[in-house]
Symmetry: C2
Subunit: 490 residues, 2 copies
Amino acid sequence: MSKGLTSRSEDYSQWYNELVTKADLAEHSSVRGCMVIKPYGYSIWEKIQAVLDQKFKDTGHSNAYFPLFIPKSFFTKEASHVEGFATECAVVTHYRLKNDGNGNIIVDEDAKLEEELIVRPTSETIIWNTYKGWIQSYRDLPILVNQWANVVRWEMRTRLFLRTTEFLWQEGHTAHATSEEAQAETAQMLDVYADFAENWMAMPVVKGKKTANERFAGALDTLCIEALMQDGKALQAGTSHFLGQNFAKAFDVKFANKEGKLEYVWATSWGVSTRLMGALIMAHSDDQGLVLPPKLAPIQVVIVPIYKSDEEFAKISEQVEIITKALKVKGISFKYDNRDTQRPGFKFAEYELKGVPVRLAFGGRDLENNTIEMARRDTRTKETVSRDGIADVIEKLLEDIQQNIYKKSFDFRTEKTTKVNSYDEFKKVLEEKGGFISAHWDGTPETESKIKEETKATIRCIPLNNVQEEGICMVTGKPSSQRVLFALAY
Amino acid sequence: MSKGLTSRSEDYSQWYNELVTKADLAEHSSVRGCMVIKPYGYSIWEKIQAVLDQKFKDTGHSNAYFPLFIPKSFFTKEASHVEGFATECAVVTHYRLKNDGNGNIIVDEDAKLEEELIVRPTSETIIWNTYKGWIQSYRDLPILVNQWANVVRWEMRTRLFLRTTEFLWQEGHTAHATSEEAQAETAQMLDVYADFAENWMAMPVVKGKKTANERFAGALDTLCIEALMQDGKALQAGTSHFLGQNFAKAFDVKFANKEGKLEYVWATSWGVSTRLMGALIMAHSDDQGLVLPPKLAPIQVVIVPIYKSDEEFAKISEQVEIITKALKVKGISFKYDNRDTQRPGFKFAEYELKGVPVRLAFGGRDLENNTIEMARRDTRTKETVSRDGIADVIEKLLEDIQQNIYKKSFDFRTEKTTKVNSYDEFKKVLEEKGGFISAHWDGTPETESKIKEETKATIRCIPLNNVQEEGICMVTGKPSSQRVLFALAY
């Protein structure tokens, strides 16, 4: 294991790429834009999945599975939807290879599909085509379904976890009898995401609404959670869409209401993806490696023995077992790294790189003194403590770490959120400080596009429950009733 | 909900199709050969996944994720592998659609891929190409990785769960320093599958080895578990392959052994798929619907109130809560179906169709007598029992049901396994009785192919730990040292 990460201040982007690879989270595959998620990275994703899945079930949703392929004709049924995705989709055109007689394996032109299939970039179309068969009356509603799946969006410039051609995600697709109910669902799922981001990922987020320019292709409203990374760029961490009746109309999905009258069904969709892994990495990690919130760390505590003889090793191992038994009772995950092929210093560096929240080092002197050295990853501090009631101490420490890294992120965001009142000030802050910039905007897509063109900053969201205040657009001087949040973004 | 399944004796195949659809397990999608797994069906698959995933982890494996797409050149590197899969694979050739100017969305010929991508039918090639970067020395071995994923094999004739173009599965891919270790892994994972089939699915299986004709494309040995369905046809429920050094050679994956000498790495792969759902359905279900083993039933106990007044309903609900609390303590899953939109008889039929193992019916008289009506799905019998200690009674009953349906399947298989000594007898038994037929065979692919051509029966496996006995091949009269198992198969 080689260490030596590029520092964040030196080259943030390089730091990220090195960290993802060296901490064994993911790597580029030989397939353009597609990543391999390595076992350690995948074990974090499994924790994310487990927590979210439970939250979805607790709010009444069930999982299901829909086809990977979407017939081209379905895909094109909702006009703005196809416009949003057509330029980045993988197309299956044939279903067989053959030997050309010269020993080469080539595509068999006799096996050309009558209708091309699109590898799903998102599943609204195939799902609403299915829901047509599931919905006749108001009694069939609501449908509250989620799918864990892989999706493909052909990206020209990719980055591990943040933007890959294939990624893993969950996509919720719900069907409702009324607009109000669908909007309530949209808001509820945004809350689920925000709760997860803040209380599990330890990452503060702003809940808001996207402008028309930034909306999901086919939605009436897109709600989002926006987080701030350590380089001052924003990252959209989850979206929840109110789709109105757009997909019901495109796929002719109607229901008989209580009065027996046919109406189009109301829809939502919502999703988070392996992009959350990128957010998790960037939100907390430092120049020494990953910093993981204890609630999502696959290994919460690692124990490293430091010994001079086999006899001492045996005695330490015996005492370690007492500790691990107590940790097990509390449901704290641990690893006793008793490999004799690596030295303690190597192990310390490895677990630091991999972001294990608590490291215990157990040496010969600890045997005599009934102590152990306890180091926390977030602050990189350590102390020697008594082994009496050590599991309680660790449990408390894990909670402290979870809270501390949240607070650190929260304070960072507060420091990096700036109100500006002129376009010059906006540009200056954007260049010198970055972060979220709160500014008045005239509400038009034209002004938003102009700002994006000139500065690359986008409106990340119009915060929910935003303060209403009179102001003037920093660019056009036209009246504005509220500030919106701008930032450079991933 | 309409009932009225076609009976098994009338038309087994039709019975199966109706059952899968009517019990809300799955349905055909509009994409040729691809299914939609509906929430109830998916909840059974989730239980299967959870149990298997824990077993994989308990045997030291970690999950990871590899790309959906495989470059054509990788796919063709292992000669017998490509031969096995080339004629049934979906090929991605383009990465963009465009508007043709007349309002039609067409494939953009300017976005043709330089190298076509194959949608994975299995992942040996892309994974071994990745392992090349992970393995340098014996210290990097073994690699014990599993992936849960979707795969695509273009099938001309499809059946829900049993044979679909896209299906869900897990594929384990391990790398080892020695042939012995890889073979031990192959055997271990077969045992995991057999244990799962017998003790969770309540489905007895024969563990065996495939003949060369039936081997996985690229394997030196394929081990399998074979189950018998109620129509007397066999179903391959899981396979574990010893791949030798074939993929290591194709992708040039070598390791330095302890002496510093370079050697090719040894490989295994093993998988089960949503096909298990088909096996589970066919193994136990009857003309009234699904019969699920309690250990895999999403709902183990359903409680239906039968009341004449709101007051009685309230009193029943109060008593039901006492029962459900006790069930919860024991980790028994339940549903209290208090819908007032459906009558009890309708509910009874629905849960029978969906295979809920235990049904409790709670009526007015039960209030007075401290009783409840308890019905078991497997035997379709019911009795009125005291509510004192009812959770203990139900816990015991669930165990009984699990054992009973296993025993029923086991006895059925015993009855349907026939030893024959001549080809005429073989044909007669195959036609009149079906099931497993144990017969001598001369060990040649030619004889095996002849039998398949003439009777459609295949050698399902050479059972592990097979009795060695002298005999003569029923077809050619050549000497044979053991019997093998033939059957018609799914």
